[in-house]
Symmetry: C2
Subunit: 276 residues, 2 copies
């Protein structure tokens, strides 16, 4: 079992976790709270000068862990597939501009075609954007999503599938993001985390919790400790495999977004120390 | 690919699919519509003389395919675990009384303990009720449930896990129920259906559809054709494996339950012919 977390040296927050805050507020409040890592969602970069964002990040001393999110590749419509490629090339530019070393891929799915066809298109698309990512020094993390999103958000639903796909690409710039919310139920999780890390493909580790009951398919995630996920045990698997990166807190929650975000930030830090 | 279904000779309806109807209405309307199979949920047996129900079933000419549902075995509380055993023994009595050859097990989960512990308790419980089932000639089908139910409804979330568990028990009375709603996303589904059937453990096949978007975790299933599941392809895997049982329509849907149930029954039959 992983040891208890005693400080915030490996804590990273996703800007989407405090959705009501803009990028300036995220940087100011996170850094003031002693949180060293930030994963930036693209929505907070809209209408911003990325050079100015990068300067704020540098001045704050924060480390950009990743940019969320690329992906959404599959479609029955080739025009939409090309638009997705273009958008992911733009994401690579944005990541380079703000100093993000990694882009997380929510791979996508199209209900109007088979999962196999969507998976083929995902693989093709990753191979198409890879040269630009490699040239810019940006890594790409395939994030397997919970099977409840297979109809619309990702045809990659287990870590084994993500490992298989990353192995097929077989390039040091393509790996996997492990999110406990999506993967906690999987009896193969421990083994596949080991396999992923052994191939130097474990690029990111995301935490939150699964509430019982969960009442919304998107925005009812729990703060660590509010649900039933064995977060500390999964963290032990990740750390025992050699991972030394950040523990990224990524929570979509209408309930928590309705709270005062500074009070919520304190709750997150307590939950990080006691339930992660 | 499985051939198109041309008649209703292998159609079975779950009474829960037409939830507003009591058992008498289910028997009357299903048999009048030429539907030969019925899977009976225990709620419609409350306050009924089971001998009388059996007589109605016999008079209608319908075949009882299974009783739903047993299971819900795991708990941190041993008193509750014993109560679950007792309830499953009662279900075996009920199945025998109405002439159901099979009980479907929704295995259960307890958010207050690990999935591994819940799985151990499920296996222990099945072994405990097995002698009574065998003595009564009732089979038990482990139904793997979608991973979105791992927190509260089942710690068995893939067909591989169900196959593994059934193989451990290694008794002809214990097999697996395959429901496309729970398993359609699984890249191992075809192989594991083959494995299940090769061991003579494929006991039941349930169909409905996965709507995009799905807005409720329990009662927003789709009629076949309303969603994105490759139902006919999965049916081909099931049939190619040698399965000759019923195609059981099991749909929980607040939307469809609000319709006139006789009009809905006609829709089900059309969806069965055209989208199953």
């Amino acid at each position: 079992m992983a040891s208890v977390l005693k400080d915030f040296s490996r804590l990273c927050l996703h800007t989407m976790t405090t959705r009501p805050w803009n990028i300036e507020e995220c940087i100011r409040h996170y850094s003031h709270a002693g949180i060293p890592g930030i994963t930036i969602w693209r929505n907070v970069l809209e209408n911003r000068d990325l050079k100015e964002v990068r300067k704020q990040l540098r001045d704050s001393g924060m480390q950009v862990v990743s940019l969320c999110r690329g992906g959404f590749f599959p479609s029955v419509n080739p025009v939409k597939r090309q638009a997705a490629i273009d958008d992911n090339l733009l994401a690579i530019e944005q990541a380079a501009a703000i100093g993000a070393p990694l882009i997380v891929l929510v791979c996508g799915a199209d209900k109007n075609q088979s999962l196999e066809r969507s998976r083929d298109q995902i693989l093709e698309a990753i191979i198409r954007i890879l040269p630009q990512a490699a040239a810019t020094g940006i890594k790409l993390a395939i994030e397997p999503l919970h099977p409840m999103y297979a109809g619309d958000r990702s045809a990659v639903n287990t870590i084994r599938q993500a490992n298989d796909m990353a192995e097929k690409v077989n390039d040091g710039h393509v790996g996997v993001a492990v999110d406990v919310y999506h993967l906690w139920w999987d009896p193969d999780l421990k083994n596949e985390i080991g396999r992923c890390a052994a191939g130097n493909r474990l690029f990111a580790f995301h935490v939150c919790d699964w509430k019982v009951p969960t009442v919304d398919f998107l925005n009812d995630r729990g703060l660590m400790g509010e649900g039933c996920i064995n977060i500390r045990e999964i963290r032990s698997w990740v750390e025992d495999s050699g991972f030394t990166g950040y523990n990224e807190v990524e929570i979509f929650s209408d309930l928590h977004w309705a709270e005062d975000q500074r009070a919520y930030l304190e709750k997150i830090q307590q939950a990080y120390l006691h339930n992660t």
